[in-house]
């Protein structure tokens, strides 16, 4: 198995959990990850995520099952992102999902979506 970075696995495990409606066992998760990730690795990742309050677990029989945390009160509310400069990240350290839109870009995006909707 090519050694995957923990951070990448963490995001992938979260993605699998987000896409599932129900609790998943580590075995289910390992199955849904590409590249045959070991059960123990998945457990390690799940433990990390549990510590960060990103997942919650319940007992099912003798094993634990996990799902994405829906309860926001458990989140580290005092952990503010802060650091305005990083939110705009000019140095390329963080890769953001999207940036905010200028009015012109917002208009262009809305036009694009409308056009697509009328096609469908």
């Amino acid at each position: 198995m090519p050694r995957r970075k923990l951070g990448q696995l963490e995001a992938e495990v979260l993605a699998v959990l987000a896409g599932a409606d129900d609790f998943l066992s580590p075995g289910d998760i390992a199955e849904r990850l590409e590249g045959g990730t070991a059960y123990t690795t998945v457990n390690t990742i799940l433990f990390r995520l549990l510590e960060k309050n990103l997942v919650e677990r319940a007992r099912k029989g003798r094993a634990y099952v996990y799902r994405l945390t829906a309860d926001e009160s458990g989140l580290a509310a005092e952990r503010m992102f802060g650091h305005l400069r990083l939110a705009h990240d000019p140095s390329g350290v963080l890769t953001h999902f999207v940036h905010g839109l200028s009015p012109e870009e917002e208009a262009a995006l809305r036009a694009l979506l409308d056009e697509h909707r009328s096609d469908a």
Partner: protein
């Protein structure tokens, strides 16, 4: 001084400009790699050209020396002192800009590492990938609240792709290059777009739904308060709209053949553009010794 000494730097720069202006219809992974090579080549060639001009001006080359190290010095003719002074000033400015950028990147990296990954309390819906072995994703409470499970999956797959392909290295490198050679700002923007598209394509493949991926990007972007990205002065490049548009089209070809061919072409062009400058430079050093 002949104009030929500008050729090594202008060739990769022209290619980078062309590539940022009109992106060929290929998989963004290849676009990103080729752009990165061209950006690197431009920076190297510019630095070498400046060094060459300075060395050529301070070294007195005579016909006798030419026999030892080749006759291209004489072909180029002497470099006038004012040109060398300008070159030296430019080189100093570039060094300062480069060092400052690297220091700032290190400080930023330290800051986000301390922040750690997980959910942070913030109304703005955003997600970011924290690079490195112990990296992960940073999600805001605003994002978790905004999206459905499937949409959250898209975001997380997108960020996982960034970590997997080490996109932060491309980004930090591009940011550094654009600081050293400000004319590369456009190529840097094109590189950013290609990297986001690359992660989008990976996410769309993982969730198996291009339309869902497009919709998620649009939703998160539209829910974000309008930002004026200060590091893109005056550039309205509509990156989000272009990403959504590309996802609404069919899957790009994966360019199993054209991608590697173009990339190695870029490498070779880079090598042949830079090697004359290097050899000139080397022979000057020889002459000085």
């Amino acid at each position: 001084m002949s104009l030929e000494i500008y050729i090594p730097a202008s060739l990769p720069f022209a290619a980078a400009l062309l590539m940022s202006w009109r992106q060929p219809r290929m998989h963004p992974a290849w676009t990103a790699r080729i752009l990165a090579v061209l950006i690197g080549a431009t920076v190297l060639a510019v630095l070498c050209t400046l060094l060459f001009a300075i060395l050529a001006a301070v070294t007195a080359v005579t016909a006798a020396d030419a026999g030892i190290v080749g006759d291209f010095f004489l072909e180029h003719g002497p470099v006038p002192m004012p040109v060398a002074v300008v070159a030296a000033l430019a080189l100093c400015a570039m060094t300062v800009a480069g060092v400052r950028t690297v220091l700032r990147q290190r400080a930023d990296l330290r800051h986000v590492r301390n922040l750690g990954t997980g959910v942070v309390a913030d109304e703005r819906p955003f997600a970011a990938a924290l690079p490195g072995r112990d990296g992960g994703v940073i999600l805001s409470t605003g994002l978790v609240r905004l999206l459905t499970g499937r949409e959250l999956e898209v975001v997380l797959r997108h960020e996982a792709a960034h970590i997997k392909h080490r996109h932060h290295l491309y980004l930090m490198f591009g940011a550094l290059a654009a600081r050293i050679v400000p004319a590369l700002a456009g190529a840097h923007r094109a590189l950013r777009l290609a990297l986001e598209r690359w992660a989008d394509e990976d996410a769309a493949e993982a969730v198996g739904d291009r339309a869902l991926t497009a919709r998620t990007i649009a939703r998160v972007a539209l829910a974000n308060p309008a930002a004026t990205p200060a590091w893109y002065p005056g550039a309205a490049d509509f990156q989000v709209a272009r990403r959504v548009q590309a996802l609404l089209r069919e899957t790009p070809p994966d360019n199993r053949i054209t991608g590697p061919v173009l990339l190695s072409g870029a490498w070779m062009a880079t090598g042949s553009a830079i090697s004359p400058t290097f050899s000139h430079y080397a022979s000057f050093v020889l002459l000085l010794v």
